[in-house]
Symmetry: C2
Subunit: 423 residues, 2 copies
């Protein structure tokens, strides 16, 4: 348990929380195959499984081998790769096949909606009986077994707790809560997981769809309430707009669980894994993706840029270098500030030559003068870095000429491209 800090809203661990001790069930090869654009070849599946294994996920969940002959063959192939991650498959609650997996994730719908429209009106007694038979069978094959309800947040609480208690007593490894339609909010999640934690002795897995934009927050709230395993997929791909994205979950966990995350997961692989999957399923990484969105570490407003140059943690809760990425500070917009331009001038090596022995920086007033010129131009049209640099160089030349025609002393900045200053 960590000590409280000056900030009373800093996280304080409690006995319930698994924020610093969670596991990942990576489902790009199951939930992700339900994404509209997915059509994985065997080679693609092997590559994704291998990369995720190197990244450090605890489990890989693959499509049910009964889905098609190729699904079965691919599952068998991946089981034989000798990965560190355990291999799971995912089935409806019927006695199926296991094809060499380490475990089976069983799922069954318990909501009113699903029981009427998907399960032909089965009642909870019949559902529970069927679940216990399947669990017994899977255990008899020597596999791990998880039992999950589906659409858990629109299910009757008493029904839910009854079936979870029954399967826990039957010896499942994990029970699962699934927000199949993406309707849950963080406080609902916390309450349900917290309640469930008191009813079962096994691990608790959670699965959140992102229809209402809460899949990352819900996973975090579930861990706070005692969940142990989170389902993810790369970039969140899955049915409809998908589930908790692996990368975004890492972004969420880093501020609260930095040491644990760094000890377990190879964060520098996130970008290459996402790039590979994005290309395979023909999507672009969202511009606003945590960590890898093209502007996730780009700062633009003058006041932000100034503070970032002083100390990056002022406006950043994540460090780009933890992910093998770099930070950029925009300096060519109408929102720029003179502190940023001052930094650019220094990066360009533009110093003033004076008749005596010293070389001087521009004064703050001079920097403010050239900043005003840049803002004026940026009001008229988007400025490329070359444009802004030209304005700065021209101003610098005038100053030097005014000071006595001593010529320029400048070097080209190495690190800046496309209107950015690397901070």
């Amino acid at each position: 348990m960590s000590a409280p800090t000056g900030n009373p809203y800093a996280r304080i661990d409690d006995l319930l929380s698994n924020v610093r001790n969670f596991k990942i069930i990576e489902s790009t090869l199951r939930e992700g195959e339900q994404f509209a654009n997915s059509h994985y070849s065997t080679e693609t599946k092997i590559k994704i499984a291998t990369m995720l294994d190197q990244f450090g996920v605890d489990y890989l969940e693959l499509t049910n081998p009964c889905s098609s002959p190729q699904s079965r063959a691919d599952l068998e192939t991946i089981c034989k790769l000798g990965l560190k991650a355990k291999i799971l498959t995912h089935t409806r609650c019927t006695i199926g096949c296991d094809a060499g997996v380490d475990g089976v994730d069983v799922v069954i719908g318990t909501s009113q909606f699903l029981r009427e429209h998907s399960l032909n009106g089965k009642d909870m007694v019949a559902i529970t009986k069927q679940a216990l038979e399947v669990i017994e069978y899977i255990k008899s094959r020597g596999c791990e077994v998880r039992f999950s309800t589906e659409d858990s947040f629109r299910s009757d609480l008493v029904d839910l707790l009854s079936i979870y208690k029954a399967v826990s007593q039957a010896g499942v490894n994990r029970v699962g809560i699934a927000d199949t339609v993406g309707c849950a909010s963080p406080r609902q999640v916390y309450d349900l997981v917290r309640t469930l934690r008191g009813c079962v002795s096994c691990d608790i897995e959670v699965h959140f769809h992102d229809d209402t934009g809460c899949a990352v927050a819900n996973a975090f709230s579930a861990l706070e309430a005692g969940a142990t395993h989170v389902d993810t997929s790369v970039l969140g791909i899955g049915e409809r707009n998908g589930i908790t994205p692996l990368g975004a979950l890492m972004a969420r966990m880093m501020p609260s669980s930095r040491d644990y995350v760094l000890s377990k997961y190879n964060l520098k692989m996130i970008k290459s894994i996402e790039d590979f999957v994005a290309e395979e399923v023909e999507i672009n990484t969202p511009f606003n993706n945590p960590i890898t969105g093209f502007c996730a570490f780009t700062h633009k407003a003058g006041i932000h840029a100034k503070a970032i140059l002083n100390s990056p943690s002022t406006y950043e809760i994540l460090k780009p270098e933890d992910f093998g990425l770099t930070r950029y500070v925009h300096f060519t917009s109408r929102l720029t500030g003179w502190n940023v331009i001052k930094s650019r001038i220094s990066q360009l090596g533009l110093i003033l030559s004076v008749p005596l022995y010293t070389e001087l920086q521009m004064t703050d007033d001079q920097v403010k003068e050239v900043t005003a010129k840049i803002k004026q131009m940026a009001d008229i049209r988007p400025l490329a870095i070359d444009d802004a640099d030209s304005i700065i160089r021209s101003f610098h030349l005038e100053l030097n000429n005014g000071e006595g025609q001593k010529g320029q002393s400048e070097q080209n900045g190495q690190n800046a491209q496309n209107g950015h200053v690397e901070a």
Copy 2:
């Protein structure tokens, strides 16, 4: 207060919650201008302001007129448009200009980080004194005034509550909480807003960055705890990877506040507003965007598709028609199921001709047989709708020929393109 339903996790209103009574402060023209790619022309600003006004947002927040001469001119232009939405501008806590706005959003950093690196080490006494002077001045100009701290979740709680209480007593219209670095989690948000609600009598505005993927969930938690106003931008554009997106917030609010949202906001405009802004700032709508992501209402797995065909609410918490959009069910993948193929066969008008007087549907066993053929092909390569339809038609022809060479009775399906069945 609504009555509890069969589902104990359905939201029950409490006196604190503003989930069914919230207002939007739309900041695409302020926070959004800090997005890396933004460079709005005057015409673009007018178009965005007009569309958002028609959509029904309560406030529009624009860039500080002191940022550049064009910023001032554009603000003055938009103030004169006669929109229903109130116009705000946003300033650091210095006495600035108001250019005809209805209100001023004042912001000042209170965290240890910001006080050291952005405000040259000012202490809280000096910050409070300055805030009160600025508030007095803005009120004297007849404008609404909001006072917000910056980086609120890394500020000392006692400092925060002290300054909020002081400005509330000085008569501000709103106090603001800002998660400037995107570090807050939903339970932290609930706790802080809940605490603040007991300390001030004015409205409470919240502003969440999305660095760790919680900006939508945090806004929802804040409303549950008594916040009154949420800052948004179109697609979430802003500094770094941005803030709470307007569309995603609507997705979040619909399940809990359907009547209120429909009475107030023109949801069918979301797609056109997002498309316009995305084109202006040269980004793509993220594939996983709630509501408007290209697959937000696409269903693929066989079991999902079956249930969706029976009743859309089984796997959808949002109705596409509320947003002027349509639903698609994928039927050409290896994950397809025979219920979906049955629906496609009926859509194609493929019925069996038999010697006597009746025309019959295929039997379920026949549908399962052709489904297996489609899955077999989909294992080999991605199937276009034409491919799947060809398999179905060929199978149908064989059946009819087997039944007595009576020729085909078919119509072309009208609604399906690109491998989708409209459900």
